[in-house]
Amino acid sequence: MRTIAEINDKIKKGKAVVFTAEELIELVEEEGVSKSAEKVDVVTTGTMGPMCSSGAYFNIGQGKPKMKLGGGKATLNDVPVYTAFAAADFFLGSNALPDNDPRNKIYPGRFAYGGGHVIEDLVAGKDLKFIASAYGTDCYPRRELSTLINIRDMNQAILFNPRNLYQNYNVAVNRTDRVIYTYMGILKPNLGNASYSSAGQLSPLLKDPSYRTIGIGTRVFLGGGVGYIAWWGTQHNTMVEFDQNGIPTEPAGTAALIGDLKQMSPEWLKGASFTGYGASLAVGVGVPIPILNEEICFNASLSNEDISAPIVDYGSDYPQAWSRDLGSATYAELMSGTIRVRDKEVPTSSLSSYPRARRIAGILKEWIEEGKFYLTERVAEFPGPGSGYDCRPLKERPI
């Protein structure tokens, strides 16, 4: 039907026809798949929610005398960073916590400030405290460093998230008789509420469920700037259940994302605090899907009514890794405000922001229409549905 090179040519001429995933759903309802696929060049998707497996790496340059952080210790605003690289590189994960954070010793812990908040503060242009100690070598004699530091003065600040964009996710409920504090939020006892976390019909990997276009090298909206899919994400799973349209009905594919933190904005990267659980980072991501054929158009046009998520008990089944079927709910039902679980009406809430997902899809659409954002050909494919690539539990063995 069309190639990515042809689409980029149209973008250059300002003639590319770009629809958000929501707009495509309406168009396909009115005009059918064939006509819509003829008309639309690119569909934009979006999502924003806490994505815990996120982080960033940095190079801060050398002072005088020189210092080797590798093998030493360092903190940014009292949050420990991982220094086991060369002299001036370190990595910060979004879940990192200050050593003196009480964690869950005072249950439930508040986790007011962690790695995700440090990343947000950096992106916001704030000065941060950087404190480091090292063992000293002949070529790197310095042992102590204490300085204010700002992202604009760093050589590199690169967001690198090993696992983002979960393709579908659990609906968390609690069947115990006490309140539980989870990464899916606060879950009230006896099926008091249900928490889900996907933008459903706007969510990137649900709109290209068999990875017909999305792959390594795909250029994306990341945290308000431009990023790339670096690899498939950790826990990427192709051996799950799929519905008649080929959409996974449980958590499946994931993507690892990378991008220049210096271009990003605190509006689309926000530190998060999960009471009783920990610190995290909410990440805004948008992925363009080139409509290369009717099948890709059909997949991208499936709506919240067509996509369903499994209901999982986080009171016992999830922590104990038990498998029990509590049924499923469509994203249309989840959006409506209540679902039925074991004959009980359960109010729903979301961790993924639907309004933000919609805004990201809109911004990406604008970027493409204005010729600020071109599509990339992927350089390698993700392991596809049923390929055998799976997510296995840990095999424990005595030492």
């Binding site: 928490s195 605090s273 809430s349």
Partner: protein, 135 residues
């Protein structure tokens, strides 16, 4: 008829006085105590729902102020920081009075201050820590 939720700050010397009882007896107001606390510095804080005749309510507020009790509407004390809120909706099933609700079509999350009782449950339920309370 008027119905308001207010926050009272009592000075130390009034903490042991039966103020609420007077609001009921003298001013014929329905009183619903939503929160009562005495801080380590012995300042009493009371979050109160009041309902009754307009003139009685007005007189009661004057009476409270004459005792040096500071009176503020609750809606001025619980706020949402719109720069932090991403409208995920994590708060909506935690809020006991539907002051926080989510639009089923757009997903937009609204905060209706008038329905808020200042229970503070949303504060810890919000991952972005967008809800603030300042009694």
């Amino acid at each position: 008829m008027i119905s308001r939720r207010i926050v009272l700050h009592f000075p130390i010397d009034l903490v042991s006085d039966p103020i609420i009882s007077r609001l009921v007896k003298k001013y014929d107001l329905e009183c619903n105590i939503l929160k009562a606390d005495i801080t380590p510095r012995q300042i009493g804080i009371l979050v109160l729902g009041l309902k009754g005749e307009n003139s009685n309510y007005k007189d009661a507020i004057e009476y409270l102020k004459s005792l040096n009790i500071s009176v503020q509407l609750l809606s001025q004390d619980v706020t949402r920081d719109d720069d932090r809120c991403i409208e995920c909706g994590a708060c909506v099933t935690i809020c006991p009075t539907d002051a926080l609700t989510r639009d089923p079509l757009t997903g937009a999350v609204s905060f209706d201050k008038e329905s808020c009782i200042g229970c503070e449950l949303c504060i810890v339920a919000c991952p972005m820590r967008a809800m603030k309370v300042c009694f």
